[in-house]
C-alpha cells in the first residue's frame, strides 16, 4: 500500500502542527494563578515577574473602589483572603461586571500585569458576589 506512507506523514504533520500550536499558544499566553501573598513573594525574589501575565484571586477591600469622573477607569484594592495585611491597588479600564461592588463581600479574580510601581494593571476582572452562590441552612435562617 504505497500511499499509507503518505498518510502517516499526513497524520504526523497534523499532530505536529497541533502540538506546535498548543506549545506556542501556552508559552505566549499562559498566566500564573496566584494568591496576593504568593504574588508578593514571587515579585520580591524575581523582578521579572512584573513582566509576565498573572491571574490573582482575592477580595475587594470595602470602600476602596473609585471611578474616574467621565472616564472608564476604575481603581480598587484587593486583599488576600487569608493574610489581610497583604493588599495591592488595581487599575482597570473597562466595564466592571454587574456583580462587582465594594460594599458586600466580593471575591475577585484579576488578570493582568503587576507593574513595577506596585499597581496591578488588570485586563480582566471577574467578580463572585457571595449572594450568587448557594446558601447553607444557617445562612438561609438569618
Amino acid at each position: 500500500m504505497k500511499d499509507n506512507g503518505k498518510f502517516f506523514v499526513g497524520l504526523g504533520g497534523v499532530a505536529l502542527v497541533v502540538t506546535y500550536l498548543i506549545w506556542t499558544g501556552v508559552s505566549e499566553t499562559m498566566m500564573y494563578y496566584l494568591t496576593p501573598v504568593e504574588m508578593m513573594a514571587r515579585v520580591a525574589e524575581d523582578p521579572t515577574f512584573h513582566e509576565v501575565g498573572l491571574k490573582v484571586s482575592g477580595r475587594v477591600e470595602p470602600g476602596s473602589w473609585t471611578r474616574a469622573e467621565d472616564e472608564l477607569l476604575h481603581h480598587f484594592t484587593v486583599v488576600d483572603l487569608e493574610d489581610k495585611s497583604v493588599r495591592f491597588p488595581v487599575e482597570f479600564r473597562d466595564m466592571l461586571p454587574d456583580t462587582f461592588n465594594d460594599t458586600d463581600v466580593v471575591d475577585v479574580v484579576v488578570e493582568g500585569r503587576f507593574r513595577e510601581d506596585g499597581v496591578f494593571e488588570a485586563t480582566v476582572v471577574l467578580a463572585k458576589c457571595g449572594s450568587r452562590y448557594e446558601a447553607t441552612a444557617e445562612e438561609l435562617l438569618s
Partner: protein, 682 residues
Amino acid sequence: MTILGELALWIALPIGIWGAVAGFVGGRKERGDLVLSAEHSVYAVFFLLILASAGIITAFLTDRFDYWYVANYSNRELATFYKVSGLWAGQRGSLVFWALLLSLFSAAAVFTNRAKNREFMAYVVGVLLTISSFFLVVLLFADVNPFERLPFAPADGRGLNPQLQNYWMTIHPPTLYLGFTAFTIPFAFAVSALLTGKLDSRWIVITRRWILLSWFFLANGIVFGMRWAYEMLGWGGYWFWDPVENASLLPWLTATAFLHSIQIQENRGMLKVWNMGLVALTFLLTIFATFLTRSGLIESVHTFAENTRIAFIFLGFMGTIAGACVLLIAWRYPQLKSENQIQSFLSRESAFLFNNLILLGAAFTIMWGVLFPLISEGFTGQQMTVGPPFFERVNLPIGLALLALMGIGPVIAWRRASRRNLVKNFAMPIVVGVLVVGGLYVRGVHHGMALVTFGLSAFVMTIIIVEFVKGTKARASIEGEGHLLAFFHLVSRNRRRWGGYIVHVGVVMIFTAFAGAAFDREVVQTLDPGETISIESPFGHEYTLTYQGLSSPRGENLVRQAVALMTVEKNGRPIGSLTAEKRLYVKWEAPLTIVGIRQTLMEDLYLILENVNDLSGAFENEAQAQRATFEVQVNVLVEWIWYGGFIVTLGSIIGLWPSRGSTTTASRPQTGGKRPALAARS
C-alpha cells in the same frame, strides 16, 4: 406530591440496578424474560423520574421553601415560568433533569426497537440502565439530593439569579442536555455491538439518526447559548471560552468527526476501531461536560458549587467507562480490521480522515486549555491558566483548515479522484475566492485573517452551489426528470449528503460572522441628557445617538430599574431609538445591565448603560441624577451567526427526516412468545 417524587428516586435506583443486571445477564444467558423485564425497567425508571421531576416542580410552584433547593432558587414573586425551569436552574435539579432526559431517550430507544434490532437490545438496555443508575446514585448519595429538607421553613426563598431570568433559560439548558443525553443511545448500541460481536456496520445504520439527533441538539444548544450571552451578558460578545462553554463544544466536535468518519465505514468498511473509539470518546465528553458544570472543579461563570465528593464519583465513573471501552475494543480488535485500505491520497475518505484529525486536534487543544490549570499544578505545583487569547490563537488556524476541507471534501470523489478533474473543479471556486478577497481589499478591508476567512468562505460556498447545480443536472439527465423535480429528488433521495451540504452553508456563514468581529468598533462616553455619542461604522456611515435621559418605571419582581433612552440617527437621518437599563432585583445586591440592540443584516448597534453616576437618585427619578456613562458598539456580521444557526438547523432536519418505508416493521408484536416456544427454537 413532592414526597412521592423523593420516594420515586429511591424506588428508581433498585429498579434501575435490577434492570441493568437483568439486561446483561439476560443477554449473556439468552433469557428473553429477563431482557423483557429489563425493558420494562426502562419504562419504569422513566415513569419514576417523571414523578421525581414533577415533585420538584410542584415544590417550586407551591413555594415549599422548607426544601433547600427551592429556598435557594426561587422566591414567592418569581414568575411561574421560571419556577418550572427551576428544575434545571441549579446543580441538584439539573442532575434530575439529566436523568429524566436520559430515561426519556432510553424509553424511546426501547420502544422504537421493540420489534427490530432485537439482537442488540439486551446489552443496550443494560448499558442505558447502568448509566441511569449511576446518576441516581449520585443524586441520592453525593450530597446533591434536590429533596433535602431544611430544619425550618424560611418565609421566602432567595430568588433566582436575575441573569437566569431570561427566556433563554427555558430553552438553552434543556437543548444542550437533550444533545448530551441523546448520545448515550449510540454509545449503548456500540457497546452492545462489541459485546455481541455483531460488528458489521449495522449498529451504525441503526444509530446514525440518533447521532444526528444528538448533534442537532448540541449545535442548537451551543448557538442558543451564544445568543443568550450576546443578549444578556452585556459586553457584546457571544463566546467566552469559559470552561463550561468549552466542555459543551468538545462532544460537538467529536460528534461532528464521527458523523463524517461513519461514512467511511459505511462506504468503505474502514476505520472500525476509530469509530468505536469516537463513540466512546464523545459519550465520555458529554459526561465530562455535565461533570464540569456540576462539580466546580474548574472555575467558571457557569459552575454552581464546589463539591469534591461528586468530582471523585464522576471521575471514577468516567475512568471505569473509558477502561471498559478500551478493553472491549482490544478484545474485539481482530474483528474490527479494515475491509479495505485507502487507495489514494486524493480521495474523499482521505479528506474525511483529515477532517477527523483536525476536529480531534481542535477538541484536544480545547481540552488541554480547560485542564491546563490542573495539568500545570500536577507537574509543577504551580497553577497556571490560559484564557481566551490561547483558545483564539490556537483555534484560528485549525478553524481555517476545517473551512478549507469543507470545500475540498465534496469535490473529491470516493476512492480515487483524478488530478486533472480536481484542477478543473477547483479553478472556478478559487477564482471566486480570490476575486472576493481582491474586491474586499480594494474596498478597504485590510485585515489579513479576516480576508483569508472571507476568501475561503466564498470558495466553499461556490463549491457547494456548483455541487447542487451539477448534481441536479446529473440527476436530470440520469433519471430524465425536469430540473426542479431533479433538484427536489436529489435532496430528498439522499438527505444525509445534501442536508449535510446545507449544514455546511450555515457553518460557513458562522465562520464569516466570526471574521466580521475583527471590524467591531466601540466608543465610551459619559453624557448628560441632550448630549450625543457618534460612532462610525466600518461600512462608512455614521451613527449619532442622542441621550434623552433616564426614567424609572416599576416592573414585576423588580425593585428598581433605570431606563436610558437614546434616539438614533444614521448619517443624520433619524432611524429610531434604543434603550438600555440598570435593574436591581429583590434579594439580589448586584444590579443587572440590560443592553439595547439594533439588529441589521450586516451590523448590530449595541448600547450598554455602563454606569449611572447616582443610581439611587436615578431610581427616585431625580432630575439631577441623569448623568451616565455609555458604551456604544458596532458589531459587524453578528446576525450571520443566528442565520447560519438557522440554516444548520434546517440542514440537520433534512438529514433527520425519516425516509419513507423506514418504519415498515415497527408494528410487529414485541414478545417472541412464551418460554417453551423459544426454548425449542434456540
